[in-house]
């Protein structure tokens, strides 16, 4: 067993290292971090705009006026998050290379806008907001990567205009960016032109059809989701932060799906997806942290007799309410502990499948596209993530019961072992 663990750890460490420290994935993760405060701001106002019972208290016009008044909050942030993500990525890419970061941000934005169709149903001078949100997410990410790299490449080639001494530094800085930006944006203009001669007509359309749609279709399905959930658990079993490793790959997909649900939710239509960012963050990980360990803590309080376990319950309880569970993972311990490998891998996978099933049958509501911070306590987070629906909390409660039932025999087993050790330690004293 030890030998096997060692081999697996030797495989997983380099994978974690590669995924976490890869320049593009780092920029991607940090790009989403830049957008996060805006995304949450928008989410708060989606929640406020859809407060329960208001539609019954207010007249129909009054309710519509209320929603219209708050609409711009999410329309300007959450619904067009792709915009902020790509600026963040461009910025972080160039910052990581040690260049002037803000130009990385604006060159990404301008390149993206060059590729974006600016006609809607024959009306010119308009940018469809959908292309700045879910639909343009992948194009935005790729554009940010490529434009920032091109910009930096041209800067490094020293194709900059050197100013004579005595010119204020701000002036020479603005000129130093001129040639790299001009070259980069020209390339994107050419790319746009080339695509007008293809059946796709726009790059946006091309990326959406060839890459984004197949990937999100795959990512929104149950099999890929179960694989992602299982991988998170496997990484954590070796004490590696599985969530952050898997997120760097899946976030673009999960966020795109999320925005599509939000658009449908705000239009009062049937929500298209079950798996979204919030499916993972609220209904899987957000029930006490990776592995949904809040139910494990409850099992400890219910069944454990050993001092060691009860201490851990007290230590892990308060942070667990906010989905921080390193004390449980390292303290129980879960890492490298073959005794708890089965429930650790099994529980989240079962919960993911059950949640998916109950959401598809309509028993539980699908995530409405509201982004809930991952530190939001369970039950509250389920309510908020489903657009103020108490059945979201009920779904989380069901999931907690499932985890509790799967874990209980293993908690007892572990407790018996610890309790025996404690007794024999007392006896020898």
């Amino acid at each position: 067993m030890d030998k096997f663990m060692e081999v697996l750890e030797n495989v997983l460490m380099p994978v974690a290292d590669k995924l976490n420290n890869n320049r593009y994935l780092t920029a991607l993760r940090n790009g989403f971090m830049v957008a996060l405060p805006l995304i949450i701001f928008g989410s708060i106002f989606v929640v406020i705009a859809n407060l329960p019972f208001l539609d019954r208290v207010l007249s129909e016009e009054g309710y519509a006026a209320y929603q219209n008044a708050l609409g711009p909050a999410s329309a300007a942030t959450l619904s067009i998050m792709g915009l902020f993500v790509m600026i963040g990525i461009g910025y972080k890419m160039v910052e990581g290379r040690g260049g002037e970061a803000i130009y990385g941000g604006v060159v990404a934005l301008a390149s993206f806008l060059i590729l974006t169709p600016q006609v809607v149903e024959g009306v010119g001078g308009v940018i469809p907001t959908a292309s700045l949100g879910a639909q343009g997410m992948f194009l935005g990410i790729f554009t940010a990567f490529i434009s920032a790299e091109l910009y930096h490449f041209f800067v490094r080639k020293n194709l900059t205009i050197k100013m004579p001494e005595g010119v204020p530094s701000a002036v020479s800085r603005s000129f130093s960016a001129l040639i790299p930006i001009t070259l980069t944006l020209t390339i994107f203009l050419v790319i746009r032109l080339v695509f007008t001669f293809t059946p796709f007509e726009t790059v946006q359309n091309f990326i959406y059809t060839i890459i984004q749609q197949p990937l999100t279709a795959l990512g929104s399905g149950l099999p890929a989701t179960l694989v992602a959930v299982l991988l998170i658990q496997v990484f954590w079993f070796f004490g590696l932060h599985g969530q952050i490793i898997i997120n760097s790959v899946f976030d673009p997909i999960w966020y795109s799906l999320n925005d599509e649900n939000l658009a449908a939710f705000q239009a009062g239509e049937e929500l298209p997806h079950i798996v979204t960012k919030q499916f993972i963050d609220t209904f899987i990980v957000g029930i006490g942290g990776s592995g949904m360990t809040l139910a494990v803590i409850i099992a400890i309080f219910v069944a454990a007799k050993s001092r060691q376990m009860r201490e851990l319950g007290k230590l892990g309880g308060p942070p667990g309410l906010f989905n921080v569970n390193e004390p449980v993972i390292f303290g129980l311990p879960i890492i490298m502990n073959p005794l708890v490998l089965i429930p650790w891998l099994l529980a989240p996978v079962v919960v993911a499948a059950v949640t998916y099933f109950l959401m598809s049958t309509g028993f539980a509501p699908k995530p409405a596209g509201v982004i809930v911070p991952w530190t939001t306590p369970p039950l509250l987070s389920g309510y908020l993530a489903t657009g103020n629906n108490i059945m979201g909390s009920v779904m989380q409660l069901i999931s907690m019961s499932i985890v509790f039932v799967i874990w209980l025999p293993f908690v007892k087993l572990l407790d018996k072992q610890y309790y025996g050790e404690e007794l024999s330690a007392q006896a020898t004293n």
């Binding site: 460490m13 974690a16 290292d17 976490n20 420290n21 780092t26 993760r29 940090n30 971090m33 954590w236 004490g239 590696l240 932060h241 969530q243 952050i244 851990l312 230590l315 942070p319 921080v324 569970n325 390193e326 004390p327 449980v328 993972i329 390292f330 303290g331 129980l332 311990p333 890492i335 530190t375």
Partner: protein, 104 residues
């Protein structure tokens, strides 16, 4: 004055440890500044610290952060998983002080 920096994925679980370490430092009458950051802030904050400790779940960051730590001239290590799980402020503070001492 010793300055101890802790880093993990988002600085959440390490901040739990910070509280315990601060309490321990207070008890010892030790003048210490202890704080936790997310991994992307670690390179920047390292310039103000005497030592960097990484949460064990982010130990794959060690190689990359070692480069920054060398530039800043400070030691770094991964926190012992057992101490991390027990949120053992005393043991981790000892580790930090030992690393600083050995670096002198």
């Amino acid at each position: 004055m010793v300055k101890i920096l802790l880093a993990c994925s988002s600085g959440m679980s390490t901040s739990l440890l910070v509280q315990k370490m601060e309490a321990e430092a207070n008890e010892r009458g030790l003048d210490a500044e202890i704080w936790a950051v997310a991994q992307d802030k670690a390179a920047e904050d390292m310039k103000k610290a005497d030592v960097l400790l990484i949460g064990p779940q982010m130990r794959f960051m060690k190689k990359k952060l070692s480069v920054n730590a060398e530039e800043a001239g400070i030691p770094l290590d991964v926190i012992n998983p057992v101490d991390y799980g027990r949120v053992n402020g005393k043991a981790v503070l000892d580790t930090a002080l030992e690393l600083i001492e050995n670096n002198k």
